[in-house]
Symmetry: C2
């Protein structure tokens, strides 16, 4: 899939993912990655033009390894909007902890690097598509609470599921993934789902 797959390049990506995971995405420098990979700092620059490019590549690399599409399949095959919403939250909840290190590094890099901001934005837009699909499924079931438009509900669900919220609930509040799924699902259902309109 990747255009250029040297063994060294792959080793760098493996190290990067591992170290970001270990350090929660903070304080991992180019020199650290090089040393841990067993090469010189400059060798890293032979494969990746900048730190941001490395982070973006690591994101893609991890996504391939985790097979995001497969994970989302159950949600796409749901037979009702409510089920689709619940399954989407569940896959997402299992996905975040696995990408958290890399994601956090990219989020932090946004402050100083335009390209990192764009890359993360892209990812989040993809996630938003999943949210919209779930909301639209509710809508066509007639179970989207009447106050919401699909646009507003999509915005709101998307925001709810953002990484900083997961971070706050798990890291600061000490919720487990199981609790996160349980309460996020409850909150989303209570917020967005109503019984279908009986006049239909």
């Amino acid at each position: 899939m990747s255009s250029d797959n040297t063994e060294t390049r792959t080793k760098i990506l493996d190290t990067t993912v591992r170290m970001l995971e270990e350090h929660g995405g903070r304080g991992v420098r180019m020199g650290d990655i090089a040393r841990a990979t067993g090469i010189s700092r400059q060798a890293v620059y032979l494969h990746f033009a900048s730190r941001t490019e490395l982070l973006v590549a690591a994101t893609r690399y991890l996504d391939e390894k985790l097979d995001v599409d497969r994970r989302l399949a159950p949600s796409r095959e749901a037979t009702s909007g409510v089920e689709r919403l619940a399954l989407y939250i569940e896959s997402w909840a299992h996905y975040i902890p696995e990408i958290y290190g890399v994601a956090k590094a990219l989020i932090l890099a946004q402050d100083t690097d335009e390209a990192a901001a764009a890359a993360w934005d892209d990812r989040m837009q993809a996630m938003r598509d999943g949210c919209r699909a779930a909301i639209e499924a509710l809508h066509s079931d007639g179970t989207l609470a009447s106050q919401w438009t699909t646009k507003k509900a999509t915005d709101a669900l998307w925001t709810m599921l953002l990484v900083p919220n997961w971070e706050n609930l798990t890291v600061k509040c000490g919720w487990s993934t199981r609790q996160y799924i349980r309460w996020m699902t409850i909150a989303a259902q209570r917020t967005f789902v109503d019984a279908p309109d009986p006049t239909d």
Copy 2:
């Protein structure tokens, strides 16, 4: 209130608040603040030991100016939990845009500076207290939805109201403050509020 109120110190704080506001909390350097204040960079260090210390002082300075306590008074005087929740969300929603620049700078500084992280954490704990009070008001009205414990509901409401969510909804999704208030209130009520238990 402040221990040490030189005129220059105040001028620095004014400049800092203004510049952070103007630039959304990003990319404002010590030298920029000094130049805009009309003093040398080193003069800033005569009043504030570090960038973080300046940011923290600016936060406090702004809080005094905005009179946070007065803003929260209506919420504290609410006669029902539901009203308290709505009024708290409303004051908070009017407050965030005014502190956003400084808040964002502090949030960004967290990555590299322990002290900035602690300062922001502190602020967010105070905000959490407001959330707990609102949730407890619901609880004692008997209108807190039965699935929630006060602890879990407080965590959830607190997370909902975090700055990154406001940022996403207003900046990325283009919501106005009015829309933010409207939909946050609806989401919070649907999530946390039930009719009181008729067996009471």
